[in-house]
Structure formats: structure tokens, C-alpha cells
Symmetry: C2
Subunit: 182 residues, 2 copies
DNA sequence: GTCTATAGATAGATAGAC
DNA sequence: GTCTATCTATCTATAGAC
């Protein structure tokens, strides 16, 4: 017994990972889920419904990926783990797709906020592990920096992007450490 | 005497600012430029050609906006100027559109790199003005942080975004200052 | 050289068959 | 309740008129 709805969502997630929001079309998703396009509209009456369903799944998946930072206790290790996530272009495409969707559809904005809050929470835990005072600014800084690194790496696709991101994150975490101890 | 080509590029820029890459369609652009859709294909045979033309103009425009940081000499003032740019959603949509286009069309990647390099150059000048050693990491950090702040603000659309971005940038610039003087 | 009518492809949504 | 044939809208590209 198959769960069609889940099949569709999984296929839609793959599409977001590979093609971003502009490639998020019913025909492509239907092909991936091995159902007919018109079949999608039974489970998800409109495109936005489908987008909301897949956003829910994408957020859970992204937060699970970010959970890799739990238990990290040195700035160097943290920089490496975050950089690894940031240069994974499939992740970045999903994030950008969610951001655009939130921008276009006010309905979906709450979902993106949930993602952002989840990341801030995890950033807070990480900073605690590193003995850095996890103020709002520090957490937000780390989040924004990671997002920016991911977007720039996706677009420039330069060699050594992973190392560059890692070094930049290392610099930031070192500065945060120094700034805290005084 | 009108310069049709320029009219079209201007209209296309407006579309990118308001709708992003997914809204970048020939009919919409043609309407904005007050010409027929099929007319566009005379000046720009394919969609990618048009995208390349408008990317060129968008980059010049974005770099001109970033030039607002020239002459700024205090961290607080710099934080404010950068935050002002970051929360201007029209700018962010253009940046994201260029990033996506670069991701999808290898042809356009070089254009995005040019934008990134231009921003890094300006970041370097800013840091010099602030008496912060403008290392590669510092410049890249500032760039990535700004991009991340912009994307997050676009997607969450939370109140007080401007102040939050400003505070975060202020924190970062303060840390950079402290980290440099030792 | 400049512009347009029209074709060809692909998207999303509906009404209705099983 | 599950699935499909089909319709309408919209997008890009071409061939050809002026």
C-alpha cells in the first residue's frame, strides 16, 4: 500500500532541490512521482497547496540537517560542519525557493519564519557549547552569515568554496569568542 | 527617437525587482516596455539573451547602490547604510534572481562573479575607512552577512527588520574592530 | 532593418468517469 | 473516494509582412 500523497511530496522535494522554485511545475513533479499531472490536483487542489505541503516537509528536513551542529564543541569543528551544509547546493536551492515562496505568498511566510526560528534556536545551542554568550545578535549574525555564504557559493560556484566558507565562519566564531571574553 | 533596447531592459529590470526570476516573462516585460511580446525576440532572440542583457544593467545598478558606503567612516554609520540596502526588498529580489540565473545558466555565472567581486572591492574600501584590516576573510564575511540579512528579511518580513539588521551589522563591525586592534 | 501574426510548447485547473 | 481526459491560459519561438 502506497501513500500517494507522500510520494508526491517526496518528488516535489527532489524538484525543489534540483531546479528551485522556477522549476517547480506540476508536470515535472508528476513525472517524478510516477502519476499523472492531473492527479496532483486531487491531493493538492492548487499549486500553492502543493507548495505549502512540500514546504512543511522541506523545513523538517532542513532543520534535521542543521541538527548536525549539536554536540560540536570547538569553533573549528563548528565552522566545518556549517560550511559543509552551506556549500550543499541542493539545500541552498530549497532555502531560496522557500524564501521566494514566502515573499510571493503571504500564506507561506509563517512557514519560513518557523524555519528561521528553528535555526536560531540551534545556533543558540551551538554558541552555548562554544562558551559564547548566545545573544539575539550573535545567533542572528551566525544565521545570516550562513545563508549568505550559501547563496554566494551557489551563484559563483567557485573552486574552494567549502574552504573559503569554513575560513570565514572560523573567523566569525573566533571573533565572537574573543568579543565575549573580556 | 527612442532606444527600444534600453526601454526593454529597463522594463525587464522593473519586473525582476517586483516579481523576481519566476515572474520574468516576455509578456510581462513587453507590457512594461509598451511593445509586443514578439517584438522582444527581435532584440533578444532568446530568453537567456534577454536575461544576460538585463543582468548587465542590474549589476551596474546594484554596485551603484553599494557605492553609498563610500566615505562612511564610523561602524555605526556603516551598519545603517548597509542595513538600509539589505532591507530594500527590490534589491534582494534582483540579487536572488541573478543568483538563480547564474545557478541555472553557466553562461551567466561570470556576470554574478563580477557583481560579487565589485562588492568585495567596496567592502575592502569600507573596512579601510574604518581602520579595520581588510583581509579576504573580513571582506567576504561582510558580504555574506549582508546577503544573508537581505534574504532573511525578504522572506520573514518581520517588523523591525531594518533595526535588527543594523544592530547585527553593528555587532559584526564592532567585533571586527576589536579583533583587529590587539 | 523593424515589426507582427501565428504557431508550438507547456503550464494549471475543471468536470466528470470509474 | 480515486483517478483521468480535456479545456483554457500562458509562455517562447518562428516565419514572414512591411
Amino acid at each position: 500500500m502506497k501513500d500517494r500523497k507522500q510520494d508526491i511530496i517526496n518528488a516535489a522535494l527532489v524538484v525543489l532541490r534540483e531546479h528551485g522554485l522556477s522549476g517547480f511545475t506540476q508536470p515535472r513533479i508528476a513525472a517524478g512521482a510516477a502519476v499523472r499531472q492531473s492527479h496532483l490536483t486531487y491531493y493538492f487542489p492548487t499549486r500553492v497547496d502543493l507548495l505549502a505541503g512540500v514546504a512543511r516537509a522541506a523545513i523538517d528536513q532542513e532543520l534535521a540537517a542543521v541538527d548536525a551542529i549539536v554536540g560540536v564543541s570547538s569553533p573549528q569543528a563548528a565552522a566545518k560542519v556549517i560550511a559543509d551544509i552551506a556549500v550543499r547546493h541542493e539545500n541552498t536551492r530549497v532555502i531560496m525557493a522557500l524564501a521566494q515562496a514566502a515573499d510571493q505568498e503571504p500564506t507561506l511566510r509563517e512557514l519560513f519564519r518557523e524555519l528561521a526560528d528553528g535555526i536560531i534556536l540551534r545556533a543558540s545551542k551551538l554558541l552555548e557549547n562554544l562558551n559564547i554568550t548566545p545573544t539575539d545578535e550573535h545567533c542572528f549574525l551566525l544565521h545570516a552569515l550562513s545563508v549568505g555564504l550559501a547563496v554566494i557559493d551557489l551563484a559563483t560556484a567557485r573552486r574552494g568554496g567549502q574552504r573559503r566558507a569554513e575560513r570565514t565562519l572560523g573567523t566569525a566564531l573566533t571573533l565572537l569568542t574573543k568579543g565575549t571574553e573580556k
